[in-house]
């Protein structure tokens, strides 16, 4: 039983009536109990993918299995396991917090449970607001209310579509603490976020989607190890107008009007080339007064991947190093 993935997508495609192909044959497996971050630029297909899995949009072709259940033929079993917190804030205009949360629980076929609803609302600091009209809440509270609604029916799988958009720092931290607690209880969490540092901090695995295609899925650490490029930055004593001939063999770029020399290298390679570079600098008579190395962040990896996939980004083609790596 435990080997059944939480979500399995096979050849999932979606073409809207307008002809726009939002998803192009997506294959993706999300294991139980993991936190999976789905990254991608605006319009990449993240929300379409979530909408199809949750039953809000119809796939043009392909199969979605939720805990082994086909989400069309066995929609009750499939949907009953999923809690969804969509990107757009949507609250009832005239209903109280408590009434909307009770509605959510009922919709998912669960009998009323005052104690559980109270606990969910307390966890999200909404208990004091339970008799407020939901539309009168602040933006951050509305976001928490939508999470409370999704959690009120005790889902095994939780979709968080941009959950921290427009949420202040302390609330965001509380939210992530809650996500960790949910994971400890065995809930599978799939999140999309623009804050890549959050994916970096939270996720077990990361998928990158661009132009309707999953271009990469990997463990976060493996992804960073595999794609993470390191940079050695040297601050020169005297600026260089251009790179001397003797340094052309290295992946170098000049910054700050020739004051800074940036060397990009793959830190997993046995030979990083640093020793050779330093020798060549001495040979060329170039002196430096400072040096430090840094590893590229997930954000840089992500931008690099998406731009590489796109192939149209002018910044990418103009940089001798890979785009994101050379920009810092």
């Amino acid at each position: 039983m435990s080997s059944t993935p939480a979500i399995q997508l096979t050849d999932l495609s979606k073409t809207y009536d307008s002809g726009f192909r939002a998803l192009k044959g997506v294959n993706l497996t999300i294991q139980r109990g993991e936190i999976f971050a789905l990254l991608g630029p605006n319009g990449a297909g993240k929300t379409t993918l979530i909408s199809i899995v949750c039953g809000l949009a119809q796939a043009s072709s392909g199969v979605v299995l939720v805990d082994g259940h086909d989400n069309v033929r066995e929609y009750r079993a499939a949907r009953g396991r999923i809690g969804l917190v969509p990107q757009e804030l949507a609250t009832d205009l005239f209903e109280t917090v408590l009434a909307t949360v009770n509605l959510s629980r009922g919709l998912f076929g669960k009998p009323r449970d005052k104690a559980l609803v109270e606990q969910v609302l307390r966890d999200l600091s909404l208990w004091d607001k339970r008799h407020e009209i939901s539309n009168n809440l602040s933006g951050g509270m509305k976001r928490r209310l939508m999470i409370a609604k999704a959690l009120s029916h005790e889902p095994d799988i939780l979709f968080l579509d941009e959950p921290t958009a427009g949420v202040d720092v302390s609330l965001r931290q509380n939210m992530w603490a809650m996500v960790r607690r949910l994971r400890e209880r065995g809930v599978t969490i799939i999140l999309t976020t623009h804050y890549i540092e959050e994916a970096e901090e939270m996720a077990d695995r990361i998928g990158v989607i661009n132009q309707g295609e999953i271009i990469l899925v990997d463990d976060k650490q493996a992804l960073m190890d595999r794609l993470g490029r390191k940079q050695l930055t040297l601050t020169l004593q005297r600026p260089l107008a251009q790179l001397p001939e003797g340094l052309k063999g290295f992946d170098l770029s000049l910054k700050d009007s020739g004051q800074t020399l940036v060397y990009s290298f793959d830190h997993q390679q046995e030979k990083t080339g640093i020793a050779e570079l330093l020798k060549a600098l001495v040979w060329e008579g170039i002196e430096f007064r400072d040096l430090h190395s840094s590893q590229s962040s997930l954000e840089e990896i992500f931008v690099d991947l998406v731009q590489g996939d796109d192939g149209r980004d002018p910044a990418h083609s103009s940089q001798p190093t890979r785009a994101a790596g050379g920009s810092r």
């Binding site: 949750c54 969804l84 949507a90 205009l93 509605l103 009922g106 919709l107 998912f108």
Partner: protein, 253 residues
């Protein structure tokens, strides 16, 4: 069957009705009472009998139908349009709820409210005019059937509408004229022969006629035809709804 979901939708919708008691119940009752005062008690006393029934009593079934149609359509269309408008419908659509359960919840609540209003108006009418109900069971059954039919119709309008104007246009431009010209205030026998024939294409005629028969035992068209027409309308509504949910029309892209 997800009974909890049906109950949740139904009670959520009914809670809206009772929370806004004044506009939900009091104002339609007041408006209809004004019709009775003006057409029944005031002008009615100067009018001759229609089909052997005093005018004030004659218009009661028609006025209740007028209210029932308007309220059923507006309750049901509003009930499904609002969550569409606010975006909260995502939750119902992503829940393990079948289309039938969704319709029972929303349409059931809208129809319940209409029936309560119809009965309230019936009781209120007693304050102004005398009337009899020869076939009370048929009257109640027909009231419920019509409330369900037009709540289904309203539900479809709510799904179709993508703005508040569209929500109003069919009740205002089609249903209201058909009701006024469907024999609410007159017997179609009072019309010239050509207009009598044209009027028979108005489906509301069959509703009012059948409903009036349950009160006074007289009708413009036979009760059997009224029932068949109501059945046909119900069947058509269910067919269109089936198509809506199968294709995801305006609900699921």
């Amino acid at each position: 069957m997800n009974l909890y979901a049906i109950r949740a939708i139904y009670s959520y919708e009914m809670a809206r009705t009772f929370r806004t008691l004044m506009q939900s119940i009091a104002s339609p009752v007041l408006a209809t009472s004004l019709y009775f005062v003006v057409f029944g008690a005031a002008i009615g006393s100067r009018m001759t009998e229609v089909d052997g029934i005093p005018y004030g009593a004659f218009i009661i079934p028609g006025l209740i139908m007028l209210l029932l149609l308007n309220e059923s359509i507006s309750n049901a269309s509003f009930g499904i349009y609002m969550p569409k408008f606010t975006g909260t419908l995502y939750e119902v659509l992503s829940a393990p709820v079948s289309p039938a359960e969704m319709v029972i919840g929303y349409v059931g609540a809208a129809a319940t409210k209409s029936v309560i209003l119809g009965l309230l108006v019936l009781v209120t009418a007693r304050l102004f005019v005398d009337y009899e109900i020869q076939h009370p069971l048929f009257m109640f059954g027909f009231l419920v059937l019509t409330a369900v039919n037009f709540s289904l119709f309203g539900f479809m309008i709510g799904i179709w509408a993508d703005g508040f104007e569209k929500l109003q246009i069919i009740p205002m431009m089609i249903v209201m004229p058909l009701t006024f010209l469907g024999g609410t205030f007159y017997s179609i026998n009072m019309l010239p022969p050509l207009w009598q024939t044209i009027t028979l294409f108005n489906p509301v005629v069959y509703l009012i006629s059948g409903f009036r028969w349950s009160f006074y035992g007289t009708s413009d068209v036979s009760v059997g035809i009224s029932l068949v027409m109501s059945g046909v309308f119900l069947g058509l509504c269910l067919l269109v709804l089936r198509w809506i949910f199968r294709t995801g029309y305006k609900l699921k892209p």
